[in-house]
């Protein structure tokens, strides 16, 4: 036991200095080198192992299964599944409900990401200095983040109640005809978006607050002395410094827009008439309501591909930017 750990420690410290028998054949030499290198990084792999096991079980395994399921389909209810290749994917792409969900999701993504990021930046700029008042306000703005989405949706269900809800109670005094917030296909998606913005702006504010700490104090002071007003300091110093934060928050906001559909489940079930149907909810419908695992898997695959491309692209830009001058 003791000797093993000693060797481990040694190899950790100086992996290249492993003793190599000079008389050994060249092939053995290479093998030993590889073995040595493996031994050297063994602790690292062992440390990764627990996460890798669970990722393999619950993430990669599931993704592999989705990949396989997307290629199979039943011809009729009692028939066994058979290999159909890309038929499921083309069926999904030809489904107007799917394209409708993609369009809804795009509107939803832009319509939630832009306002919530703008609000978050505004909050962060207003509350960047720390004192009792700003701390209290920060906590107040962060509060919606702490409320689970399902609970928040249940609350908003009552706020949005037609005729008797809180919103209609106040707005109703101003408008002649009361809007049916969740029952009208023209409004429902925007009602859903309001909740997302309300819920996420405080969360993104945290990132901007952190980003603002990184704005160099001396540059700001210099600008101040040179007579740059608040607008010019924001435009030429703060915003450029916040670029990585912007990029990161945009990625998070986009991922949220695709992966968080709790409120759709609770409030509208994708209705009325598919007006609030988002891609993830469409997948749920295919799998559960239509009991069509092939099509659900195909739609999942398309979504995963889109998300991974997006993430890879944005993080590569992020890495470039951070590595650059």
């Amino acid at each position: 036991m003791h000797s093993i750990s000693r060797r481990d420690e040694m190899s950790l410290a100086e992996p290249a200095a492993l003793p190599v028998a000079t008389s050994a054949a060249p092939r053995l030499h290479v093998l030993k080198r590889v073995l040595g290198r493996f031994k050297a990084s063994l602790p690292a792999y062992l440390l990764l192992l627990p996460s890798l096991i669970f990722l393999a079980l619950f993430t990669y395994g599931a993704m592999g299964r989705v990949l396989v399921d997307a290629l199979y389909q039943r011809a009729s209810p009692k028939a066994p599944v058979r290999f159909v290749g890309f038929e499921n994917i083309s069926a999904v792409l030809a489904d107007p409900a799917f394209t409708g969900a993609v369009v809804n999701n795009l509107i939803y993504t832009v319509g939630t990401a832009v306002p919530s990021i703008a609000l978050a930046l505004l909050f962060a700029l207003a509350l960047s200095r720390t004192n009792v008042v700003t701390s209290a306000l920060r906590a107040a703005l962060f509060l919606p983040v702490l409320i689970p989405m399902v609970a928040a949706s249940a609350l908003f269900l009552f706020i949005f109640l037609p005729n008797v809800g809180l919103l209609d109670y106040y707005i109703g005094r101003l408008l002649p005809v009361l809007p049916n917030w969740l029952g009208d296909p023209d409004i429902a998606l925007y009602a859903i978006m309001i909740i997302t913005i309300w819920k996420n702006a405080g969360y993104y504010m945290l990132f901007f607050l952190a980003g603002l700490q990184a704005v160099p104090e001396d540059v700001m002071e210099a600008a101040h002395l040179d007579g740059a007003g608040p607008y010019r300091r924001l435009r030429h110093i703060i915003l450029p410094e916040l670029k990585p934060t912007f990029l990161f928050v945009t990625v998070i906001a986009t991922l949220n827009a695709v992966t968080q559909v709790d409120h759709v489940f609770v409030m509208t079930q994708g209705g009325p008439s598919n007006a609030t149907n988002l891609v993830l909810f469409y997948i749920y419908q295919q799998a559960v309501e239509h009991y069509d695992i092939g099509k659900a898997s195909a739609a999942t695959l398309l979504t995963l591909a889109a998300l991974m491309t997006l993430t890879a692209l944005s993080f590569r830009t992020l890495a470039n930017r951070e590595g650059g001058p």
Binding site: V177, N180, P272
Partner: protein, 444 residues
């Protein structure tokens, strides 16, 4: 010593956890353990009531150990049951939404109960004879029994009696026809200029409820919604459904006595309780809620007719998934029979507000006393004489949604009833196509 001990410990723990996962039940002889999946479609109190019921069962049946597993809504219960079947560990019994049975039977997911009934020395007719005839349709598929009715409902017309009196109407003589109902709704609608401050009537429309209300209106207009004998047909593009949807449309846009747009069930009941809507059509399942919350005198009545009095049933049946071992099947059957016996059926009905499917439940002294105190609960039972099965087809939920999406467009003033129903029919036919290809259109 950096890693070794911790790693060994960790691996040992992981190993024992994996072991525990892999071999959960190495238990020897003992009571047969069965799981019962149950949904809570209305409110949280039901979960406690179910606990009480199962505890009593276990105390009186030492050879069976039943565990009640809460599985969410009706839809969630279907998902979880299907997942358990796929994983090879089906629950022994499930309380399943009555209109999912046909779909499950088509997918080979149900145990045929005929053999178990026969083994008891009973016949199908005797067994089904215990339950209200209106409930047979959703329990019997191809003349075999697949489900045992557990708790059921019908739609009712709820009237705010105080407001009716205020408007000069007699709540003891509720409207019986669509014409009378329209007249009542007009008199009960209050306006201030263009603005409506009190709506005459509210009818819910959200996924699930909307289809049920369309079936209600279509049936009272003489129609059928779907083919009761065969899961591959629905009757959306028909005069009876056109009349039903046109009347609903007229209530909104012609008579202006119903709020525009699709309104979900909870919004409708809240609207009624708050006095914003003077009448509503809603399930008997909401009766307890209204009884507990209404601060005014209310009255319940049959759903008014245009052509005939007829309503669909709702609610759930007890089923057994396919692929159960013999001992579990036997234990589950004991549990199911016990839960649907007159005494337990009546107890559950009083606790929840659903009506008891077992007719003998209404002869028990407790039930007679309860109905004496709450005469409104009687209306739901009386309406059963004119009730018929809940629509159930191949892929019930998507086929229903094909109609609901179009109905929502009509209620929002974006489509006319005629074209909406034609579109719904076309979409539903498309959804039903694979099943028809294998049955009605599979020709020699």
């Amino acid at each position: 010593m950096l890693f070794s001990r911790r790693i060994v410990l960790g691996l040992a723990m992981a190993g024992s956890m994996a072991g525990a996962l892999a071999f959960p039940a190495l238990a020897g002889e003992g009571p047969t353990e069965v799981d019962l999946f149950f949904p809570v479609p209305v409110d949280g109190k039901l979960a406690r009531d179910m606990g009480t019921l199962i505890k009593e069962f276990n105390e009186t049946h030492p050879d069976v150990k039943a565990t009640a597993v809460y599985t969410g809504s009706y839809d969630d219960t279907l998902i979880k049951t299907r997942a358990a079947i796929k994983a090879g560990k089906p629950p022994a019994a499930v309380i399943m939404s009555a209109n999912f049975l046909l779909d499950m039977q088509i997918e080979n997911e149900l145990t045929n109960l005929d053999a178990l009934i026969k083994a008891d020395g009973s016949t199908k007719e005797q067994f089904l004879g215990q339950f209200f005839p209106a409930l047979h349709g959703n329990a019997v598929i191809n003349r075999s029994v697949y489900g045992v009715p557990f708790h059921n409902s019908t739609p009712l017309l709820y009237i705010n009696a105080d407001k009716a009196k205020e408007a000069g109407l007699d709540p003891s003589k509720p409207p019986q026809t669509w014409a009378e109902l329209t007249d009542w709704a007009k008199k009960l609608t209050k306006r201030e200029g263009d603005k409506v401050t009190q709506w005459g009537i509210a009818i819910p429309c959200a996924y699930d409820y909307c289809g049920w209300m369309m079936e209600t209106l279509t049936m009272s207009n003489g129609g059928r919604y779907y083919n009761e004998e065969f899961g591959g047909e629905v009757y959306y593009d028909t005069p009876s459904m056109l009349g039903a949807l046109s009347w609903w449309n007229d209530l909104i846009y012609k008579h202006k006595v119903h709020t525009p747009g699709a309104t979900p069930g909870p919004a409708v009941s809240t609207s009624f309780i708050s006095g914003n809507a003077a009448m509503m059509m809603l399930s008997t399942g909401s009766l307890t809620y209204v009884r507990d919350n209404a601060k005014f005198a209310y009255k319940v009545a049959f759903i008014p007719r245009n052509v005939r009095n007829a309503v669909p049933i709702g609610g759930a049946s007890l089923i057994m998934p396919a692929g159960l071992e013999a001992d579990k099947q036997k234990a589950a059957w004991t549990l199911i029979k016990w839960m649907t016996s007159p005494e337990k059926s009546g107890w559950w009905s009083r606790a929840t507000g659903y009506f008891a499917p077992n007719m003998a439940a209404y002869k028990t002294p407790e039930m007679v006393e309860f109905l004496g105190k709450n005469p409104d609960a009687k209306t739901a039972v009386e309406q059963l004489d004119i009730a018929k099965p809940w629509f159930a087809t191949y892929k019930t939920v998507p086929v229903r949604k094909n109609l609901e999406d179009e109905v929502m467009l009509v209620l929002n003033g974006k489509k006319q009833p005629k074209e909406a129903l034609a579109a719904a029919q076309k979409a539903a036919d498309e959804t039903l196509k694979p099943y028809n290809a294998e049955t009605s259109l599979k020709l020699p």
